[in-house]
Symmetry: C2
Subunit: 162 residues, 2 copies
């Protein structure tokens, strides 16, 4: 299956597409959609939406997965993030791609095997799970790949159970 | 000028289009985009986005205006609302329509002349300002019209000052 993981952020939205059978994962593409804080917020949302739409058009993922939005964090940041997340969910729904969401804990559990893993541990495990010879330059892209791996693993398990 | 006011909500998104010279306002259209809580959230966002896109295509507003999102309210509700608001801002940006946002206080001040006005007072004033012979059936549509009136008034004032 092909999965697009999205790590939403108003300044930096990470993305990562993987091919996976649930156990073995290969990276197709990963990167970051950057927007400038100098742009009006609605223009930034448009840039993110168009970036995700291009990705979906080019790589035809079966699923789009994002992290659940956290209520506990700084309220203003969480609200901004929810706007971006709304746009990401819309891009997924527009393309008729399956949608899945996971908590940060589930993502870390599935990639590192430990829910309170640090960012650097996630990066190391993502690199290892995807058999990459070089480190992933961007933390946001790595986080997006982790979300994609999490979904691939969960989806494979549900298929096996079904 | 023609203004589209949007009152975002995941179950009910009110909309109202007015023509205005800043002092005299006329309603073009108003209503509500309803989505079912039974639908997956991403499908509801898609329904709202497509509803707003149709409206913009049909009525060609110069401006789209929405209320600022409130931080104080129930965190879960505010986050859901922010998703819808992200989609509304995207629809506005996609169409190249001017974007404006106002606090609930500004909207009430501009329509009722009193920032702590009750919902029913807003409804009465919206009806009166738009010279409507009948009451507006939906509170969400009335709130959206209030936002549109607020922007028309502010925009006219800024033009006069410029």
């Amino acid at each position: 299956m092909r999965v697009l993981g999205i790590d939403c952020g108003s300044q930096r939205t990470g993305y990562g597409v993987i091919d996976s059978d649930g156990a073995d994962h290969r990276m197709v593409v990963a990167g970051v959609i950057c927007t400038s804080p100098k742009w009006p917020f609605e223009k930034r949302l448009l840039e993110i939406a168009n970036g995700l739409r291009s990705l979906i058009r080019e790589h035809h993922p079966e699923f789009g997965a994002v992290e659940e939005v956290f209520h506990a964090a700084n309220a203003k940041t969480a609200l901004k993030l929810a706007h971006v997340r709304g746009v990401a969910l819309l891009a997924i729904a527009e393309a008729g791609v399956g949608f899945a969401e996971y908590s940060p804990l589930e993502v870390k559990m599935s990639v590192v095997g430990y829910g309170r893993a640090e960012k650097s541990q996630v990066q190391v495990m993502v690199r290892s799970l995807l058999h990459l010879s070089e480190a992933i330059a961007s933390e946001d892209a790595s986080d997006a790949l982790a979300i994609a791996i999490c979904h691939a693993t969960h989806e494979a398990t549900s298929r096996r159970l079904a």
